[in-house]
């Protein structure tokens, strides 16, 4: 596995986490290709082959709609995330596409100061190299597989 590829995926993941953790949600959809898929599901559903997801988006436009809804429509208490992302395990690479799996942990910091371990899991990603306008990599598919079936109160900000 070329070290450059490993670094490129790591850099994509780091920038992805930064956009969310810095509350720059408007930048989040641009990490995906126009037809990019994004799903948040549980390990239980995933392993049983059940398709239900908490968030189920099949285009970048749907992700933009979600951001607008979070900004303008939905009511939730002020909160931030802090992502810790593990090293990407690159499973496959063919003709500019990379399949990677990456572990993550997300702490949620409420406006009250209360900090909890909110979510753990893995990203199953299909990444297209050189797809972005800047020549960077983008997600053609990102499946967020939560280890637990249980969400504390609500899931507003994307993982």
């Amino acid at each position: 596995m070329p070290i450059e590829l490993q670094l490129e995926v790591q850099n994509l993941n780091a920038r992805y986490a930064e956009a969310i953790d810095d509350n720059n949600l408007e930048a989040w959809p641009d990490f995906f290709t126009p037809e990019g898929h994004y799903r948040v599901t549980t390990a239980e559903n995933f392993e049983k082959g059940l398709p239900l997801a908490m968030i189920y988006a099949t285009s970048r436009a749907m992700l933009r709609d979600r951001v607008r809804s979070l900004r303008d429509a939905n009511v939730y208490e002020a909160q931030r995330y802090r992502h810790l992302i593990g090293p990407a395990l690159i499973r496959e690479q063919e003709s500019g596409e990379v399949h990677a799996q990456t572990s993550f942990m997300v702490a949620r910091i409420m406006h009250t100061g209360e900090t909890t371990l909110f979510a753990t899991g893995r990203y199953r990603d299909r990444i297209v190299l050189g797809a972005g306008q800047d020549g960077g990599a983008q997600f053609a598919q990102k499946i967020v597989i939560l280890d637990s079936r249980l969400i504390d109160t609500l899931l507003a900000i994307p993982l």
Binding site: V40, T41, T42, E44, N45, K48, L50, P51, L52, A53, M54, I55, Y56, A57, T58, S59, A61, M62, R64, D65, R66, S69, D72, A73, N74, V75, Y76, E77, R149, L150, I151, D152, T153, L154, L155, A156
Partner: protein
């Protein structure tokens, strides 16, 4: 009823002074109901282990003989099984011996149930069938011949299935399920459960609130367009949409429904695109595309069965919610989404896409996880004060508009009759 009332009186005097229901009746709800551990315990006995039907699981979750899955009757852990003859049973998840949980896994296959602690065995109907070393070993130890451990066996639930939904009760006095629901609720359960079920998956959320606050939220048709602004923000909704509520005779069950402003299909997309061009609306209105699979134009139907079951149709997104009380200030809400065995790939895709509206991340239901918690925190220091439930007057009757709290008052009507308060 004598002992129930006496127990209630005891429960109501545990905190500040004697507690009684306010003289105004159902238009007032005292806040001490949401924070008193003695009330919580009485609810477990009088409501959940009392004369109510509680949703346990789908029949489809026990697809084969010799399978089991865990569920709950209020806070009480139970095991639901399908025996080798295909018959369903449910019993308390508690060993006759020392009270250990009998089943630890969420679900699985088994011919019998064996307690891990001391290997006491049960058949899938919950009967104690063997006690390890009952006669001792080599003539020493063991249980006296007059011992009757069977008398301590886990309590068995009575079961009834309705359209593949399995309900259980511990009480011998619970009326038959159809009678418990009444014809108006029954017909609307049947409306949704139109064919054999195909499960799409589940997830759950912890709610930082008393179980009653969540159920009030479910029955509160007044908050819908005020708290949940997704539809109005994206101008997808007409406020004048026709709809109404149905409240059962007992008060405990309800249905709220509204007709969709469109008939699904392209209209929504066109309306959405017009809105998008004008600077509002969804960029991807396909999210809401649906088919009127029930053929009656109803786009939203929320149905609750006392105490804690919800059956939901949001366009083509279908789900049940099972609420599990976990102490005075916490509950777990378990969602199971489903379609039907005859769905084609497009319909499944529609159900999954429309599920964006529901669940812990749902465009519409996200707030419902948090709002009951806002009340829990708001009233924690005001046990002697009362909430005002006067929208639509004092009635608990069905109505053709939803700017009413009739179903909330209905909940309290049923609650009071079970609790003797």
């Amino acid at each position: 009823m004598q002992s129930r009332a006496a127990g209630m009186e005891q429960a109501m005097t545990t905190a500040a002074g004697v507690r009684a229901w306010p003289a105004e009746g159902l238009t007032r709800v005292p806040y001490w109901l949401y924070g008193d551990p003695a009330i919580y315990d009485r609810e477990q006995a009088e409501i959940f282990r009392g004369a109510t039907w509680n949703f346990l699981c789908f029949e489809a979750e026990l697809p084969a003989p010799n399978t089991y899955r865990r569920s709950t009757l209020g806070a009480m852990p139970v095991v639901v099984t399908r025996d080798h003859d295909g018959e369903l049973h449910a019993f308390e998840n508690r060993c006759a011996h020392r009270g250990s949980l009998l089943v630890l896994n969420q679900s699985g296959a088994a011919r019998d149930i064996i307690c891990v602690y001391h290997n006491w065995s049960y058949d899938l109907a919950g009967n104690l069938t063997a006690v390890a070393f009952r006669k001792g070993l080599g003539g020493k130890g063991g249980m006296p011949p007059q011992s009757r451990p069977e008398e301590h066996a886990p309590r068995k639930l009575r079961l009834e299935s309705l359209c593949g939904l399995v309900f259980g009760t511990l009480s011998a006095h619970t009326p038959p399920l159809e009678q418990y629901l009444g014809p108006d609720i029954l017909s609307r359960v049947r409306r949704v459960m139109r064919a054999p079920v195909q499960l799409l998956g589940d997830y759950s959320q912890t709610l930082p609130s008393n179980w009653k606050l969540y159920m009030e939220n479910v029955k509160d048709t007044y908050h819908a367009s005020l708290l949940h602004t997704f539809f109005t923000t994206f101008r997808l909704n007409r406020l004048s949409q026709r709809g109404g509520i149905v409240v059962s005779e007992s008060g405990g069950h309800h249905v709220s429904y509204s007709f969709a402003a469109d008939s699904g299909g392209k209209e929504y997309e066109q309306a959405g695109m017009r809105a998008a061009q004008q600077g509002f609306g969804l960029e991807e209105p396909r999210l809401l595309e649906w088919r009127d699979e029930f053929g009656d134009g109803i786009g939203l139907q929320i149905l609750s069965i006392f105490p804690t079951f919800v059956l939901q149709q949001t366009r083509n997104s279908l789900a049940v919610r099972r609420l599990v009380p976990q102490g005075v200030a916490q509950s777990e809400l378990v969602w199971t989404c489903f379609g039907f065995a005859d769905d084609d790939a497009q319909m499944t895709e529609r159900r999954l896409r429309l599920a964006n509206l529901i669940g812990p991340a749902g465009y519409i239901s996200m707030e419902d996880g948090a709002a009951p918690g806002f009340v829990q925190r708001g009233v924690a220091s005001a046990p002697e004060l009362l909430s005002v439930v006067e929208m639509g007057g004092a009635s608990t009757a069905s109505d053709d508009n939803r700017v009413t709290e009739a179903a909330v008052r209905g909940f309290w009507k049923a609650y009071r009759s079970h609790m003797g308060v």
